[in-house]
């Protein structure tokens, strides 16, 4: 069906666009809350890409954990700590800029190496029946590390939210 192909292609580019637009919004906007919204849009785009690749489970998990949990925790932190006037971001300069750029370079090079060295398997051959038993086997045997890493991400989000909230309050003292 050629028609489906067009729709699928369109959706692929749409999700790519969402991911990049969200990411751009996240780093370019002046308001912290808008940046967070950009982050959420970007996550949704990534979830759409998983969906495109045929893994509905992963895309649902992406929404549940990244959008539903992490973004909300960060938003919570922002709202507890800041009022809208305080959210006008200052210019990043000096040490922070250096740190940011180096972190980005390291992450991207790691990703590049990982992508370069992976032997790619077509998605179709990996699909299981998504029963509870199958999920449990996969999550706790095959993808144990990924599973644990997700919990680390959650932890990082909670810690980050607490730091954000705390900083906001300290600023008011001054």
């Amino acid at each position: 069906m050629i028609f489906y192909r067009y729709i699928a292609e369109f959706m692929f580019f749409f999700f790519i666009f969402l991911t990049f637009a969200g990411a751009l919004l996240a780093v370019r906007t002046r308001l912290l809350m808008h940046a967070l919204l950009g982050l959420a849009v970007s996550f949704l785009g990534v979830a759409g890409l998983y969906f495109y690749l045929g893994s509905l489970f992963l895309s649902m998990m992406q929404i549940l954990i990244y959008v539903g949990a992490i973004c909300i925790v960060i938003a919570f932190g922002i709202m507890v700590g800041y009022t809208p006037e305080q959210l006008k971001e200052k210019k990043i300069a000096g040490k922070n800029l250096l740190l940011g750029v180096s972190a980005a370079v390291v992450v991207f090079s790691l990703l590049f190496v990982a992508i370069w060295r992976t032997v790619w398997v077509p998605a179709v051959t990996r699909v299981g029946d998504f029963s509870l038993a199958w999920l449990g086997q996969n999550l706790l045997y095959n993808y144990c590390l990924a599973f644990e890493l997700i919990s680390v991400v959650l932890l990082a989000a909670i810690v980050g939210a607490i730091i954000l909230a705390g900083e906001g309050r300290e600023e008011k003292v001054r």
């Binding site: 507890v80 009022t83 006037e85 305080q86 309050r169 008011k172 003292v173």
Partner: protein, 371 residues
């Protein structure tokens, strides 16, 4: 959204509750200093509907001030009438026939029940229960119908006159009142089931806004709030005015002084009011309903005071006469004014929801506070 820069309370911010807010019951503003959900310092701001009733009282003959009294507390207007005519009678030495006194007691107590019913609904609305207010308004309507029959108005009554009342009560009124007493007695069990045994209600009201007897004394808290703290003080018993000494009734008191006790005290007060009305109807003497009072009442020099138990507490009128018709000085001490002044102390360090509960349990009528 200005953040507070005070170094002492660096984590706080200001929240304006009112003058347009559902649970301030009128145009009262409370400026809240908040830390998250906790209230650090609530400061009431009064005067949004201040009308300078005292000045009006000092600039016209004393008879002409009578309609103003019902406008101060529109929910429980007859005791305000009662206090004022009682004061003039006391100052000018006017005799009141016994039938008039009995009619005054019956109508005042009916008005008290109506006021408590309104409070019951509004208090539970503050706690988020929507239904009780409909039930209590249903009952209150009956009282308003009965009172409209003889007073001619439903809310801001001006029924009492120096020396008696405006018109005699009819048989229809007596029948209606007896029917209402019967109906109301059966309704108490509904309120008991719907409200008083509800676990969420008890958890919301218990231990919230505890007024100790000492605190009540320092602030001059009176009425059901004081009785909720366990002090049996009721002007109708302590300094019986009118013919209250003729009746057998109890003064219900609470134990802990929390919002739950105030609820219980008010419900029991309604039952006692019904008892008083019943006795008054049984004993109702024959005779004139309006005694002899001069058309132009001269207020002799000197000061006099008259206190009545309004639905919210002690209402005191204080008058200084100079021998003319016009009062030289008229002070009106309203109960909610002193009752509300306890809020800044009571509301320190509690949750916002508890502050709403406390203000609801106070039974505030803002025009009365602002006068």
């Amino acid at each position: 959204m200005k953040s507070e820069t005070n170094t002492q309370q660096n984590q706080s911010f200001t929240l304006n509750m009112g003058p347009q807010h559902p649970s301030t019951h009128g145009v009262l503003q409370v400026i809240l200093e908040m830390d998250g959900e906790y209230v650090l310092d609530p400061q009431p701001v009064l005067g949004y509907i201040h009308r300078m009733h005292e000045k009006m009282g000092e600039s016209r003959p004393c008879r002409k001030f009578l309609p103003n009294t019902g406008r101060m507390d529109y929910v429980c207007a007859l005791p305000f009438n009662h206090g004022y005519v009682g004061l003039i009678e006391r100052a000018a030495g006017i005799e009141v026939p016994p039938r008039a006194e009995y009619i005054r007691v019956i109508t005042s107590e009916l008005n008290r029940v109506a006021s408590h019913l309104l409070w019951l609904g509004a208090f539970l609305l503050d706690l988020g229960a929507f239904t009780p207010i409909m039930y209590s308004f249903d009952d209150r309507e009956q009282i308003l119908d009965i009172l409209e029959e003889i007073t001619g108005s439903r809310l801001t009554y001006c029924y009492f006159r120096p020396g008696g009342v405006y018109q005699d009560i009819s048989d229809k009124f007596i029948e209606g009142t007896r029917a209402f007493i019967k109906r109301m007695r059966s309704r108490f069990s509904i309120y008991e089931k719907l409200v008083a045994t509800n676990i969420i209600f008890i958890k919301r009201a218990e231990g919230v806004g505890v007024i100790s007897p000492d605190m009540a004394r320092r602030y001059g808290v009176t009425g059901p709030l004081l009785r909720g703290s366990g002090i049996s003080y009721d002007i109708r018993k302590q300094e019986p005015y009118s013919v209250y000494s003729d009746f057998d009734f109890d003064v219900p008191v609470g134990e802990n002084g929390d919002s739950l006790d105030r609820y219980k005290v008010r419900v029991q007060e309604m039952e006692q009011s019904l008892r008083i009305i019943e006795q008054a109807l049984d004993k109702l003497p024959e005779g004139p309903y309006l005694g002899k009072a001069p058309k132009k009442i001269k207020l002799p020099p000197g000061d006099s005071s008259f206190s009545v138990e309004a639905a919210r507490g002690e209402l005191a009128y204080y008058l200084v006469g100079d021998g003319s018709e016009i009062p030289y000085r008229l002070k009106i001490r309203v109960p909610s004014y002193s009752n509300l002044s306890v809020l800044p102390e009571l509301g320190r360090g509690i949750l916002l929801a508890d502050l709403v509960t406390i203000m609801g349990s106070f039974d505030l009528v803002i025009p009365e506070i602002d006068r």
